[in-house]
């Protein structure tokens, strides 16, 4: 009981930091700072996932969101301007309307959500419990996430690997293989 009470405040702190970083990303126009802050945002998300005991997701978020994405966004930023154009005030209000409507819908849905950590919640009760009970008999490896991902859902994971492969294929077909001296030395355009 005490344990849960303490981590709860850590969660509040992390969510407050996520909000602050989100506002900073919206307000800033320097794209380098924005890219760095999106990396910080991913890292805070990863810390929050650890606090929610989702270590595998946290690991992926830290490696992909804070690591690779930041580098790729920096590479994309080098191809374009360093500052973003200011958007018109009309667009601000339209975006605010969409965000407010989505947020109101989410608050409306909160009472239907199961209590945090509820063992009888749908996510924990049916298939999830079956996996937790069957993995020691079927696979006998300690990490249930790896067992589900590689063995029970091996075919899905094969599909994911094919998706990753086709992502690279698409990028290489669009941007070239990056091998030649395809360098834009002429100017900023």
């Amino acid at each position: 009981m005490n344990h849960a009470d303490l981590t709860q405040y850590l969660d509040y702190l992390l969510i407050a930091m996520l909000l602050a970083v989100g506002f900073a990303i919206v307000r800033l126009r320097n794209l380098f700072a924005v890219v760095m802050l999106t990396g910080v945002y991913s890292l805070l998300c990863a810390a929050w996932f650890v606090s929610l005991d989702a270590v595998d997701v946290a690991f992926t978020e830290a490696a992909v969101g804070a690591g690779i994405s930041t580098v790729l966004m920096l590479g994309a930023m080098l191809l374009t301007a360093r500052e973003s154009e200011p958007a018109g005030a009309g667009r601000h209000w339209a975006a605010f309307g969409v965000v407010a409507a989505a947020g109101a819908a989410l608050f409306f849905a909160i009472p239907d959500m199961p209590v945090y950590g509820d063992p009888e919640s749908p996510a924990n009760a049916y298939v999830g419990r079956d996996y937790l009970e069957q993995v020691p008999h079927d696979i006998s490896i300690p990490n249930v996430v790896t067992a589900v991902l590689s063995s029970y859902r091996g075919f899905d994971t094969l599909g994911e690997v094919v998706v990753v492969f086709s992502a690279a294929l698409g990028v290489m077909l669009l941007l070239g293989f990056g091998t030649g001296a395809r360098r834009r030395e002429e100017g900023e355009d």
Partner: protein, 152 residues
Amino acid sequence: MSPHLILQVVAKLLIPLIVIFGFYVQFHGEYGPGGGFQAGVIIAVAVILYALIFGIEAARRTVPPVVVRFGAALGVLIFAGVGVATLFMNGAGEPLNYLDYDALHPDQGHHTGQHYGIILIEIGVLTTVSSVMLAIFYAFAGRVPDIPDEEW
């Protein structure tokens, strides 16, 4: 002397540790968090860090783009090949199923076949993910000249 001397020294210390950590995540994925996806990204990050500090050309000499292209396809082939292998290695005499790792080893009591299968497909995932991340990085970085000194 390079203006990034401190960065280069620190990176040379860090890159081997990053790669070792990547392999730890890869082969420890059955016991702790992690697996082929995360390990592939970490190993790609090691090469990308090298490219950022020492220049894209040095990284291209170390990990040539042709290897990256080959690896991206090879990982998918390893994964799919394990599935094809399980179709033909029917040790337990049960119905043949694609990606049914129990067929890989006759020892059903300790699920050795499951362990073999998971390790093999995770190697395929590692190969594809690390190659794909590097391929995308090369495709982006190959379009701009190296970062000029005033932007550091």
